[in-house]
């Protein structure tokens, strides 16, 4: 396996470095869809959306992180993800996601901004719930 080209995948949030691993392939949730990155990818800079960042490490294990917004930067076989949130997908529980859905639905929606925030929060929470459903079934 060692002669294979590898990519270094770094995930950084304002609070901590969420991941730093050698990977064989990385899939980024860009703002307009998924982007797959293999070794020797051209330099690439994109805005990220909400979704799952997946990468396969050198032991061929899949890892998934839920990320929300930010930027992805690919250069010299290094993928740097700068994002606000990064949670390992298997750490999210259904109960937690359900609470978040309820909390999001309870948000006020009086002004236009509040409606937007609320809609976004609901979408996020539902996505999280969907994720837990997907990983558990």
């Amino acid at each position: 396996m060692t002669d294979h080209q590898k990519i270094r995948c770094i995930v950084i949030t304002p609070e901590r470095q969420a991941a730093d691993a050698e990977a064989l392939a990385v899939v980024l949730p860009a703002h307009d869809g998924l982007v797959g990155v293999l070794p020797n990818h051209a330099p690439f800079l994109c805005k990220l959306g909400m979704g799952l960042l997946r990468y396969r490490d050198i032991q061929n294990r899949e890892h998934a992180l839920f990320i929300e917004g930010g930027f992805g930067h690919v250069r010299d076989n290094e993928v740097s993800i700068l994002t606000q949130t990064a949670i390992a997908a298997d750490k999210i529980t259904t109960a937690e996601a359900d609470t978040q859905v309820r909390q999001a639905e309870a948000l006020p929606a009086a002004t236009i901004e509040e409606v937007d925030t609320r809609r976004h929060a609901i979408r996020r929470a539902k996505y999280l719930r969907q994720l837990t459903g997907a990983t558990e079934s």
Binding site: P14, D32, A42, P43, F44, F71
Partner: protein, 300 residues
């Protein structure tokens, strides 16, 4: 000569102060650990995002027109933001920032620039007001558990002012944290953003040529300019957040060492007082003994 009773009383009060300073030292140590983890955790993010933004800005220098990158001098007004603490007893921490702020104020006055002085932390507010400076805005909510959102609000307000050309720049006077043995007051030009200068490379990034990305070889999604437009406000926010975090950590470090020194001093004082007390007691005994002997002699 002080009586033994007086010395005992003083020794006891010094002992009580020692207890307090010792406790404060321990609290500061605990808070420092927490703050340090946060500050160190956020550093790579700040570094990366600043690097990326300035590299991209430099790469797009000829075709970008983001208002935050442009220098202007219409308003002749600069925001000076001083970050101090709400609590004292932390050695020279606040004093250094206040002194540097004073220097900056004098410098700006010499340049005939109007100053919009904003101060965070009670200590700075009181001291600068006492020095006769008028403070336009004051904040006391940047405590040790400051959140990104709180800082982001302030950054947004400043960016808005800058974009509307009501101010020409933002300077932050804060305490830069290098290591637990080294922290110093420093000034950061938050706005306008300086596009990457090749000299500004950090040692880690020295391997990469970050002095401006080679725009031609990059793929962008969405177009580079849109990315930059989003990246810049985030950069400003994270940079300001890092300043606040650095200040918070430095405050705890400063308090830790100040309280350690205070505790050591109290300990020394107790020792000196104990020695004095023993001496006083001994001389009291001696004089009493002499009295008795004198009495015995007289009776003979």
């Amino acid at each position: 000569m002080a009586t033994t009773r007086e010395i005992v009383k003083r020794r006891r009060s010094v002992g009580n102060i020692r207890k307090i300073t010792k406790t404060m030292e321990m609290i500061a140590t605990a808070k420092f650990r927490k703050a340090l983890n946060r500050a160190v955790g956020s550093k790579p993010y700040t570094q990366k995002i600043t690097e990326l933004a300035s590299a991209l800005a430099a790469g797009l220098a000829d075709q970008t027109s983001h208002p935050l990158l442009q220098r202007h001098s219409e308003s002749n007004r600069v925001v000076l933001l001083a970050l101090t603490s709400n609590r004292g007893l932390c050695g020279g921490y606040n004093g250094n920032v206040i002194r540097l702020t004073g220097q900056q104020i004098r410098m700006l006055r010499d340049e005939q620039t109007e100053i919009d002085l904003r101060v965070s932390g009670k200590k700075g507010i009181y001291a600068l007001r006492f020095m006769g400076h008028s403070i336009q805005q004051q904040y006391t909510h940047f405590e040790d558990k400051v959140t990104f959102a709180q800082v982001a609000d302030l950054a947004e307000e400043l960016m808005d002012l800058y974009c509307r050309k009501q101010i020409d720049g933002v300077r932050v006077v804060f305490t830069r944290f290098v290591s637990s043995a080294r922290h110093y007051a420093d000034v950061l030009n938050l706005l306008p953003i300086q596009p990457a200068a090749p000299a500004a490379q950090t040692p880690e990034s020295a391997g990469h040529p970050t002095g401006g990305l080679n725009i031609e070889e990059y793929l962008f999604s969405p177009p580079a300019r849109e990315i930059l437009d989003e990246l810049i406000p985030i950069t400003v926010k994270t940079e300001l957040f890092q300043c606040v975090m650095d200040s918070v950590v430095s405050e705890q470090v400063a308090r830790m060492s100040a309280m350690k020194a205070a505790t050591d001093n109290a300990q020394q004082m107790i020792q000196a007082l104990t020695r004095q007390y023993n001496r006083a007691r001994q001389s009291q005994i001696t004089s009493e003994l002499l009295d008795i002997l004198g009495g015995v002699e007289a009776l003979k």
